[in-house]
Subunit: 127 residues, 2 copies
DNA sequence: ATCAATGGTTAGTATATGCTAACATTCGTT
DNA sequence: AACGAATGTTAGCATATACTAACCATTGAT
């Protein structure tokens, strides 16, 4: 099945860990579950897989991002914030802007994101 | 599981049917399989489900889109073409542009797509 | 008429998620 | 110390896809 959903799911977890860490200083399974609206059990299993892939480190109850996991997470979060701001800037309501940013952040390649950034910044001084 | 992948998958099938129909005049299971790079078996099963949902009509070997299925397909194809053109316009190579368009076409809400269209057309006369 | 190729379906399998239930552990309160 | 709440894990289940293998039906060529 889905390489695509696999990718989305993985990136969502990494991003959620980064967000929770920023928000609370540290990140636990429970925090990620709340952040994503998933059960603790699902998160526990998913994070074990991400740990096996070397993207996450579990230190007792503490969920940490490895260097590569952190790089991923920051990339996704940057895109999330960018699209969220852009969508709000062009008049999309907050809820839709957030939902769409949450999906699009996973869909864009590095190359395309960079070009979009450059293009929009050139055209629209307010961004 | 995934509503997201479910949505992506469904939309990909509808879009593929539309593309094959435009390309060949009619659309068969084999055409959709070739278009998407899936096995005939997978396509056969998937299309039966879409038929049960009322999005597709199977008339002997002929795969047709219902009105609602066609509306979906045309919406996705329109977005695909738009993003493809935009990405190529801002200097992204064809392969990446196509890949990204294929993903983003599923990620954007109606509201956001409309606003992006308006916004970009206002800013960039060449589009 | 026969046999191979083409097209479509069904059955069984594999993978990726997610969920609930049940359980172990730890912590806080009384 | 004891009990209940919170946290995390495991086991078992459900769903959504996709695949291969096997099979049926139609078509076309010899």
């Amino acid at each position: 099945m889905g390489n695509r959903l696999m990718k989305i799911s993985k990136e969502d977890y990494l991003e959620a860990i980064l967000i929770c860490t920023k928000k609370f200083g540290a990140c636990r399974v429970t925090d990620v579950a709340a952040q994503l609206g998933h059960s603790k059990a699902s998160v526990s299993v998913a994070l074990s897989k991400l740990e096996a892939e070397g993207l996450v480190i579990k230190d007792d109850w503490r969920i940490l991002l490895s260097d590569s996991g952190k790089a991923f997470a920051e990339k996704i979060l940057e895109r999330h914030i960018f699209f969220l701001k852009w969508f709000e800037h062009i008049g999309i309501d907050d809820k839709t802007a957030k939902e769409d940013a949450c999906l699009i952040e996973h869909a864009i390649s590095d190359a395309t994101f960079e070009k979009i950034l450059i293009y929009l910044k050139k055209l629209d001084k307010e961004l």
